[in-house]
């Protein structure tokens, strides 16, 4: 028997699991139209490789991973790409983003599937397969799997933890998956074990799912994988919390499980890896719990891109008086009102809301500093302090209180006697801090470019000045080195004038007047006469005083 540990805090919200866990999961029919956001993972949006009008087969690539932190998106059924366009996303902003919209042809025809023997494959090759197969963490964070398993195996990884805790109320998709497809999950775990070569492999399941524990124990017999039932306490399913419970290791603040030699992955991710590697089927469907205010709460194997409204209809439709949905669980889920939002890789549950099941919170009262939130916080934070700093927008201080260790589990919200929406404040502060970081990175770039430009302008100016100085120096040197030629040496200006005059004279000598060629003998005689007269005048002028020069001018005229 394994000794288990405790994490700080935790709460016991009402379970509401039995509603949907009793019925076996059902394969949802292919909907008419599927909406596939190109970003269903943490990181950069995948790049579309299809265009409107293209025919696609089931499992065909729609968008390939763009950059290191990305994962591919595939067609969940065969049909025609209607458009690659902006469509509303299951995102808290409610803003649209690029989606591939597919009209199903109803034939559900598979593209060629290429299963492979992972034991014969290279680890890097296998990771590339995970990326191109669109495998991401299905526990909620949608962290691309190929990056998570990008580690030095054996040396780094002591423990591989498979997360089957599913601690959020209402959700039962992992529960049903483990009960119905334990053998396949184990085959997927084998792939992850091959990638990480861990010392030990643990599957953590909350003890409110005894059937899942039994099924997994049976499937794991003689594999060296240990299935551990952990006490039911929200949020045991948090990565750091489950690692603490199973191994006693504390993931450092701001660190990753890898820092303590642990890798943690969801059981549904292992199942998806099995489908991809052993069956050649990329990530195109997942189990989704449909529960809350519906006639028959149950789990569906739904194609990605299925509108949530269709699933609600399959579950017998919403009960009268329902309004809105929660995607995910009530503690951390996303509240939406649009039924046309698609199922994405992170959608594990659709809860139909009604005022009876989820009564509106009473209005918030001022914080009384009872510190109940701090007692409940699984990350061992001081939510009342964080709240204080977030409220007064004191973002520099709030970082020192480890805001980024908050997993937004909502345990503090749950216990707060003043009904303060604490997590909303923390999300606000986090996104402000992220934006600040982004801005200061942009500012650093701008500063660099600005300073470079200033430097360049300055340099150009200097270069120009230098060139001028150099020219002058060269001229001076030329004058100094050539005194023998008789060029006058007093001042560069005079020297230049002298040189210019010289050049002008040479030019004048080179040019002959045009009217001088081909003259008649009479004209020649006339010219000779004039020249003689000029010579005489010159003689006269030289012989007499300078005042007599007019005479010569007269003769010229």
């Amino acid at each position: 028997m394994k000794t288990l540990h405790h994490f700080h805090g935790g709460v016991h919200p009402e379970q509401h699991k039995l509603e949907s866990s009793a019925l076996p999961s059902v394969c949802a029919p292919v909907p008419q139209r599927l909406i596939l956001p190109l970003q269903q993972h943490l990181g950069t949006r995948a790049k579309a490789v299809v265009r409107a009008g293209d025919k696609v087969l089931k499992g065909q690539l729609l968008a390939r991973a763009a950059g290191a932190m990305s994962a591919a998106i595939h067609a969940p059924t065969s049909g025609t790409v209607l458009s690659v366009d902006f469509h509303a996303l299951p995102h808290p902003s409610g803003l649209p983003d690029l989606c591939a919209i597919i009209e199903a042809d109803g034939e559900d025809l598979w593209a060629e599937r290429a299963p492979c023997d992972f034991r014969a494959a290279d680890r890097a090759e296998l990771r590339a397969k995970l990326r191109d197969g669109g495998i991401v963490g299905l526990g909620g964070a949608t962290f691309p799997a190929h990056l998570k398993f990008d580690c030095k195996p054996a040396r780094e990884i002591r423990t591989l933890v498979l997360n089957g805790a599913e601690c959020e109320p209402w959700i039962t998709s992992d529960d049903r998956l483990m009960r119905e497809r334990a053998a396949e999950i184990v085959r997927g775990i084998e792939i992850l074990r091959y990638l990480a070569s861990p010392g030990e492999t643990l599957v953590g399941i909350e003890d409110n799912k005894p059937q899942a524990v039994t099924a997994m124990r049976q499937a794991c017999a003689n594999t060296g994988i240990e299935v551990v039932a952990v006490p039911t306490l929200y949020p045991t399913g948090g990565e750091k919390q489950l690692i603490k419970v199973l191994t006693g290791k504390e993931v450092p603040s701001g660190g990753y499980p890898l820092h303590v030699g642990v890798l943690c992955s969801n059981v549904a991710t292992a199942y998806a890896a099995h489908r991809l590697i052993n069956c050649g089927e990329p990530m195109i469907s997942r189990l989704v719990t449909v529960t809350g205010s519906v006639r028959t709460p149950q789990n569906f194997e739904a194609l990605l891109g299925t509108p949530i409204e269709e699933l609600v209809k399959l579950a017998g439709g919403a009960l009268p008086g329902s309004a809105g949905y929660i995607l995910g669980g009530p503690m951390m889920g996303l509240h939406v009102s649009n039924g046309w939002l698609p199922v994405v890789k992170s959608t594990n549950c659709v809860i139909v809301k009604s005022p009876q099941l989820f009564p509106p919170l009473p209005p918030a009262l001022p914080c009384i500093r009872c510190t109940r939130c701090a007692d409940a916080c699984p990350a061992d934070l001081q939510p009342q302090e964080l709240y204080w700093f977030a409220k007064s927008r004191n973002f520099d201080k709030i970082k020192n209180y480890h805001l980024f260790d908050c997993i937004e589990c909502g345990a503090c919200n749950y216990v707060c006697p003043s009904h303060i929406p604490l997590v909303q404040y923390f999300r606000f502060a986090k996104s402000e801090l992220r934006a600040l970081e982004h801005e200061s990175a942009a500012a650093a770039l701008a500063r660099e470019r600005y300073e470079y430009r200033q430097m360049r302008i300055e340099r150009d100016k200097q270069e120009k000045a230098e060139k001028l100085a150099q020219k002058e120096k060269a001229a001076l040197a030329a004058r100094q080195s050539a005194p023998a030629t008789g060029v006058s040496q007093d001042g560069s200006a005079q020297a230049r004038i002298q040189a210019a005059l010289e050049r002008a004279r040479e030019q004048a000598a080179a040019v002959k007047p045009k009217n001088m060629d081909s003259l008649t003998s009479q004209q020649q005689a006339e010219i000779a006469e004039i020249e003689a007269r000029r010579a005489k005048a010159r003689e006269l002028a030289q012989g007499q005083a300078s005042g007599k020069t007019e005479q010569a001018t007269d003769e010229h005229g």
């Binding site: 209005p363 929406p421 909303q424 500012a443 701008a446 430009r453």
Partner: protein
Amino acid sequence: MLTALLVMSAIALALGAALGYSAIKLKVEGNPLADKIDAILPQTQCGQCGYPGCKPYAAAIAAGEADINRCPPGGEEGIRRLADLLGVEFKPFGGETAGPKARAVAFIDENACIGCTLCIQACPVDAIAGASKQMHTVITQECTGCELCVAPCPVNCISMVPLPQTPQTWKWQYPVYALVPVK
């Protein structure tokens, strides 16, 4: 008595020497306060503060010649951080300084551009690519939105386009809800 005096003066001398040495050896080059202020300024380099760039404004603040509420692109958050750094009171925008605008980038209508290069000369961060008598274009990632290129263009083909909000740039809003006063 004498020993005590000697010991004390020896200590004083040693410490004085250490201080003098460190004053020379550990001297900080440049103006550290101006650099700290410059690190807070948004580097839009727009000149709306009345100085030819962020750095000159930072130097002016450091010298006590300029107010801290002169930089519209920095927003109120920027003023708050400057006030924190300098230990002075927060001061809202007002007087001759306009408030902050939504972030935008310059866009050149490439069909109208005559290739006069005036905008390139105006851009403080070299975010415009082009050459004489060639079409010019703005490198959006590098554009700080300073608007300095808009006025010089002789054919008015540069406009400022606000950056659209996407799910990637979207921010959680400050929670708004009614507080109930305690009776």
